[in-house]
């Protein structure tokens, strides 16, 4: 009887394996997560048999999962660190990076603010609390209200790294926990400054020229605009051409992929 049960169980397991032969596990960054999810949703609609799961744990967790063979694709908002790479290599896994999109961050102010351009250093000084009045950067006599994203967001990470150079933000800086909220704070306060992804800039706020470069898709993708970073999908070796993994990590190069990336307010690497 017991043997029969175990046998049945084995049969079921084999069956389950064969039914969901095509699975795709994606793990990693919460920043890249929305793109991966949008891709996954589209893939599900065209390949109904495909089992696809997207976990949003964090870039570090994604790298670890790839090394442990727990996922097929690791989503990362930064490049893999040497240590992570070594750990993967030790386990016989060779991480290969695919750029899925660019994350460009605009510094935004109220449209009535006459300040049009700042340098990265000036933005840093504002967030360090050294510049407290717009008159210090050629604007009106108006207190600067600096608004930051919450420290757990990917946008904050990028800003912290590329603008703050990992220095601590002043304690009087206010925090909001979403891009639309940052946008709302700036559009509703004449002295406010904040940073949001390029996709969130509209007529209600003004994005500043940084180090002489106007933020746009072109300047971000070409790397001229200083506050931008690539977002990655890592796979074990270059995936077999035509495999599901291959289709997934090159999907951003298609027209639909570009639209999905744009819908998630990131900057696509292609321009159809």
């Amino acid at each position: 009887m017991k043997m029969l049960k175990i046998g049945l169980l084995l049969v079921f397991m084999v069956l389950a394996q064969s039914v969901s032969a095509e699975t795709l596990q994606i793990d990693g960054s919460t920043t890249v997560g929305p793109i991966a999810e949008a891709f996954a949703e589209y893939f599900k609609s065209i390949y109904p048999d495909l089992e696809i799961s997207v976990k949003k744990t964090g870039s570090g967790d994604g790298a670890k999962a790839l090394g442990d063979g727990m996922c097929d694709i690791a989503a990362m908002s930064r490049f893999m660190k040497l240590n992570e790479f070594k750990k993967c290599a030790d386990k016989g896994i060779m991480p290969v990076a695919h750029v899925v999109a660019m994350d460009g961050i605009c510094i935004i102010v109220h449209p009535s603010n006459p300040v049009k351009a700042l340098t990265t250093q000036q933005v840093q000084d504002i967030y360090l609390g050294k510049i407290t009045n717009w008159s210090q950067v050629g604007g009106p006599n108006l207190a600067v209200v600096a608004v930051s994203r919450d420290t757990s967001s990917g946008t904050y990470e990028t800003f912290h790294e590329l603008v703050m150079k990992k220095k601590d933000i002043a304690d009087k800086v206010e925090y909001v926990n979403a891009n639309p909220q940052a946008h709302a704070r700036v559009s509703g306060n004449r002295g406010a400054i904040a940073y949001v992804g390029l996709g969130f800039v509209d007529a209600k706020v003004k994005s500043l020229t940084i180090d002489g470069v106007v933020p746009s898709k072109r300047t971000i993708v070409s790397g001229v605009y200083p506050i931008a970073r690539p977002l990655f999908l890592f796979t074990n070796g270059y995936p077999k051409l035509g495999s599901m993994v291959h289709r997934f990590v090159t999907f951003q190069l298609t027209e639909v992929g570009q639209e999905l990336v744009e819908a998630k307010k990131f900057v696509p690497v292609t321009d159809y």
Partner: protein, 324 residues
């Protein structure tokens, strides 16, 4: 007539006669079932107690990693909250101060308003008006806190910037005003219960001594109901200190202690907002994760303390009524 009905019943089998003497088997089943039923009901009653104990257990357990690393007092004596820095620091003083600022300022608005409204509702207003007003006040408690937060950000904040020329509209004052509105229903309804349950005798005795209505209310009724009123205030305070969504949206979340200290137009960050804002993305088992739970432990200790105090005063209010 009688006969036929009995026959009918027996035929249909609707009536079953139970013998007076039970067989030992039935006796045993009955005994076991009654004990079992009691036990199940007891367990159900205990589930909420268990829930509280479990919350304490897990919050304290998760915070241990932080306390082992940083000690019990080091974190509450400094105010640099930089959990994601190269050199992470977990000073909670500013967060503690933020919670205290917002809560006390909220009470400064809601206590006078709430107590006056309670006295008005119980002593001055006609029954018809009261029947309308009280439910409306209680609706305030039913509005989801996100709606209050939305109001704070979209209406209050720009208004404060335009009319009071605050540099930022999301500040301690904004959060305090919204919180005071949210605490009002609790304060009014508990205080009103205690004021109205005092009974006519006390008031009539006061009038008989020649006291005016004002004197009766302020020198007799409110002092006599003070235990219930204090309990109401503390319950309102707990509502304010535990509220998360509204303060996260309205207070601006700058982890600073305002300077000068009375300047409520500056942005502050509370303990609850910090937990809510940072918990989602924090790596499990990290010091930062433990630090957020440590903030939770301090919050639990504060609310538990407040709860005990309010229980004490509610019990005293009941006792006082029992004597009267």
């Amino acid at each position: 007539m009688d006969n036929s009905t009995v026959n009918l019943r027996v035929k249909s089998g609707a009536v079953q006669y139970r013998p007076l003497a039970l067989t030992p088997g039935q006796d045993l089943t009955g005994y076991v079932l009654s004990k079992l039923g009691k036990a199940i009901l007891f367990l159900m009653t205990c589930s909420s107690v268990f829930a509280v104990l479990l919350i304490f257990f897990f919050v304290i357990r998760e915070s241990l990693i932080f306390f082992r690393d940083q000690g019990l007092w080091a974190s509450v004596s400094t105010n640099a909250w930089y959990p994601k820095s190269e050199d992470p620091r977990y000073g909670m003083l500013a967060l503690l101060a933020g919670s205290v600022y917002v809560t006390l300022a909220a009470l400064a608005f809601s206590v006078p308003l709430g107590v006056m409204a309670a006295v008005f509702l119980s002593d001055l207003v006609s029954f018809k008006v009261r029947a309308v007003v009280k439910p409306v006040i209680e609706i305030l408690a039913a509005i989801p806190s996100v709606a209050y937060g939305f109001f704070a950000v979209m209406v209050m904040a720009p208004w404060m910037q335009d009319h009071w020329h605050f540099s930022t509209g999301t500040n301690a004052l904004n959060a305090a005003i919204i919180l005071s509105i949210m605490a009002l229903p609790t304060i009014i309804s508990v205080a009103e219960d205690s004021v109205s349950s005092l009974g006519r005798e006390l008031r009539e005795a006061s009038y008989a001594l020649g006291a005016t209505r004002f004197e009766t209310l302020f020198k007799v009724v409110i002092p006599a109901a003070h235990s219930g009123i204090i309990a109401a205030i503390i319950l309102g305070m707990m509502r304010a200190i535990g509220e998360t969504m509204v303060v996260w949206m309205a207070s601006g979340n700058a982890s600073q202690i305002p300077s000068p200290w009375w300047d409520l137009s500056q942005s502050v960050r509370t303990m609850t907002a910090t937990i809510a804002g940072e918990m989602g993305e924090t790596e499990h088992g990290s010091i930062h994760y433990g630090a957020l739970f440590a903030v939770g432990v301090y919050l639990l200790v504060i609310t538990l303390g407040l709860n005990l105090i309010s229980e004490f005063f509610l019990a005293r209010a009941k006792k006082a009524l029992g004597k009267a």
